[in-house]
Symmetry: C2
Subunit: 331 residues, 2 copies
């Protein structure tokens, strides 16, 4: 069933299991004691950053499947994508498995897009199980989107720090566990921001658009949620989001939390906080789902945000179109 | 309903309309008289190849919507992706519309992946209408994946020519028109091919895997189809596909056609034929759907194929993982 841009899942697909892998810097923060695997070295025993990123992703996928108690042969489909050109982390991770792979891309909103699509297929009975996963790596993202680390470039104060980590979950049918009850599909929003170091400002309008449409489509208000969780707006982007939603009559300040804002103990060069597809993937698939299963949060709106730029589009003077897909998690 | 890796659409989503835009070279071939828009100049009035690619894609989307008789406000979601880093053609095209956008990526298999996902959402009643579209541009693909055109590099004989063009279709519910009756989700296959100029050889095993699983899941055989249509295997890749399926007991030689093999009048430097996401998108959304609506083909298995490499993965010595998603079209 659909209302506005929101899809309702009448059969309430369940999150059977979840897993997260995080890097060294990330392990010092809030997710350190919740992640399943904490890297001792961000190369993860591989020869390149990209291979390390891929290995983190497939580790998260395999662990999530293992924790669900299912065999890999029981998995019907994998939804995954990542930030690297041609989503090679996801594609190469998918090469390790015999189940089908549907590649998705919405930058750092990939976690919520894949849960939205996976839940639809499970809810409709088209598949019994779906794995949804994504990740990112600080070093591969820096050299692809910005500068090689070896250059030692200075970072501006509005910058964020791409999270080294990956997270995945298994969707299926179960009476137990956290349920995905509905999801709001994102629209591309572009408020004309051209500063590629200021992703928070670029993405906030997309998050506001999706969150407000979710409230309207489902006739809810901010107080109905224990948590309104965005992906990687960072400190500055989160302030803009709160302003934008407040202007439209929704005050989310009491229960809004941004994964990027909480992931690091901000002390050094992370500035506005974490970013990257792995940011919301690791926080959701460790800390948040752990707290939900413990009954601390009962209803969470998870709205990850993605900046749909490339180095080519920025080089050609384009502004940054952004998107946010949201799913509602309840227990 | 699902059997093996195949999803069945009991409500039979219909292709309400379709549209194709093709470049100058492409207009000389079989699709020239079927495409809705034929470029006079492959820059399409834009300042860069990438912007031209994006404009072709949004032209195909807008035209398909217009031909369906619907307003843009009636469209519930757009599934799209393309070959450019971070699928910027699709993302920037989606910026022109107010309906939601779900980004997908499976390289040149994007057309069939988007139809597969779009059909699932329409079949399940999650959306009423979905637009599925993709495209590519020879010049933007060459400079991203290989060399800038200005270098004037020689092309090896196993090479293919990336199609300049875009195609899109609108899915919905209707008694009339071509129906999507089922779809087989692809798995990543990698036979160890490392030659980035030999995509046909790399992709043929993925196509064979999906097509054979489709036969088995649906208990059909090659003779049940008027056409087994692959995306862009080219001449060499098509020969390999026929061999691989024949070895498994399925002789598809009588009714296999490859979009890449038929799109050009091969006379010059296209060698093995066309490739790119736009290849199968333009051929399907002009020539093939026109013939199906005229009753010439009644049952077509459309299995586009994608090579999931990037310049980084190839540069790091990786082989080329490939995928093929298939949908069955019937009238």
């Amino acid at each position: 069933m659909k209302k506005g841009n929101t899809i309702f899942f009448e059969n309430k697909p369940a999150i059977l299991s979840y897993a997260a892998v995080c890097g060294t810097k990330e392990s010092e923060g809030v997710i350190g004691s919740f992640a399943d695997v904490v890297l001792k070295d961000d190369m993860f025993g591989e020869s390149t950053f990209e291979k390390a990123e891929c290995k983190m992703l497939s580790t998260a996928i395999s662990l999530a499947v293992k924790k669900s108690g299912l065999d890999e042969g029981d998995i019907d489909v994998l939804f995954s994508g990542d930030l690297l050109n041609q989503i090679i982390s996801a594609s190469f991770a998918a090469r390790n498995y015999d189940f089908p792979f549907l590649g998705v891309y919405s930058a750092c909103s990939t976690m919520s897009e894949s849960i939205l699509l996976g839940s639809t297929l499970v809810d409709g009975g088209y598949v019994n199980t779906a794995v949804c996963a994504t990740g990112s790596h600080f070093a591969s993202a820096e050299r692809q989107y910005r500068y090689p680390l070896e250059l030692g470039c200075t970072r501006p104060p509005q910058a964020q720090w791409t999270v080294t980590g990956a997270g995945g979950l298994v969707l299926g049918r179960s009476q137990k566990g956290v349920k995905v009850t509905c999801g709001t599909m994102g629209r591309v929003r572009d408020f004309g921001v051209t500063d590629v170091n200021n992703m928070g400002a670029a993405m906030a309008p997309a998050a506001a658009d999706t969150i407000i449409r979710h409230f309207r489509d489902t006739q809810t208000e901010p107080a109905d949620f224990d948590l309104i969780l965005t992906g990687d707006l960072g400190a500055l982007g989160s302030r803009i989001l709160k302003d934008l939603t407040w202007e439209k009559g929704f005050d989310i300040s009491a229960n809004h939390v941004d994964c990027g804002e909480i992931i690091y103990k901000v002390v050094e060069s992370e500035f506005q906080g974490g970013s990257g597809a792995g940011c919301s993937a690791t926080v959701l698939n460790s800390y948040i789902l752990e707290k939900m299963n413990a009954g601390l949060y009962k209803r969470v709106l998870f709205a990850a945000t993605g900046a749909l730029l490339s180095t080519v589009s920025s080089g050609q003077g384009e502004s940054i179109p952004c998107i946010s897909h949201a799913v509602r998690l309840e227990i």
